[in-house]
Symmetry: C2
Subunit: 191 residues, 2 copies
């Protein structure tokens, strides 16, 4: 999505540790008009795919998932992050290692909101290593549903998570894929 | 908002400790088509008020704030909840006591996303005692902005937070106000 690449070039900031800061429009402040355009693009990419529900993860996945759902007229379920290890019986949960924060957490979804046989589109704002996505796919699998595809705002292609998922036959659509970044340049993968 | 009252009656569940569970459409699973209608109603209520930006708090405030912002064509800033006490210099922060979880946390917003003189509409999914809202208003005040009003999906009127704010001259619009609730009945304040 050309407009997203241009927005990243205009507003994004690169910090040490492979951090691409886009908090002016995607994950602290939200440019909602622009988010709705991103949601429309996700709807277009998946318009021929049977999808029953969107799954995302709190907090910053919620906004882009809602924007896509508004165009696709689908419900969203957002997984919660739980730092405690005592998990209730009526939830699906999966353990996720966070590289950004160097901590481990549980991804949790109530069993009543994911049902057997559902086709799930997983949406998140960022894809790097792919650990959070693996946790979400694990939860879809536990529920007896099927991951119909993944949609991401910004994929950090050089961290390999997206291509690893694609090599497993999973459809991953990223609105922008960063192939390399330094203090003064961000390069995108042609799509 | 009559449609919201009907949805609460159809899907809400009352649990001990004044818990109104609406996780089927508002704060775990999201009925996005319905959220967009709620957002449209918030936009209608505040159509004659000068607002520059919407402020909400992660996680479940984000969805309703995005829905309103999509109709109002405004940016959203979502405050983050921080359980640690070490706060960076470049943020506004305020301490909030959570009655639901019986814990204390910091509400944090980066200084770059709230500016002096801005008119802020605060949006959240629930209003009970009003502690989170007080934290958000404190942050708006720290930034030199003005709280132009508050919009809430569901106010628990019997817990008094909304009326306390109104008595201070703050405009609080709640799409549904629960005046009392028991296991088998939820009663709304006429609006």
């Amino acid at each position: 999505m050309k407009a997203l690449e241009e927005k990243i070039l205009a507003e994004g900031q690169v910090f040490p540790g492979n951090i691409l800061k886009v908090s002016s429009f995607l994950n602290h402040q939200l440019d909602v008009d622009f988010l709705m355009l991103m949601g429309e693009e996700i709807a277009r990419l998946y318009k021929d795919t049977k999808i029953d529900k969107i799954l995302t993860i709190e907090a910053s996945g919620i906004a882009i998932a809602v924007a896509a759902a508004a165009h696709m007229h689908l419900p969203v379920v957002f997984a919660k992050k739980n730092k405690t290890t005592n998990i209730l019986a009526d939830v699906y949960s999966s353990r996720v290692m966070s590289f950004t924060h160097n901590t481990e957490y549980q991804v949790v979804v109530s069993k009543e909101h994911l049902k057997e046989g559902e086709n799930i589109l997983i949406i998140d704002d960022f894809l790097a290593i792919g650990n959070a996505l693996n946790g979400l796919m694990d939860i879809v699998s536990q529920s007896g549903g099927k991951t119909a595809g993944i949609a991401i705002a910004i994929e950090k292609g050089f961290q390999g998570g997206g291509d690893k998922l694609r090599s497993q036959g999973i459809r991953v659509e990223s609105l922008a894929i960063v192939d390399s970044m330094t203090d003064d340049s961000v390069k995108f993968r042609p799509q």
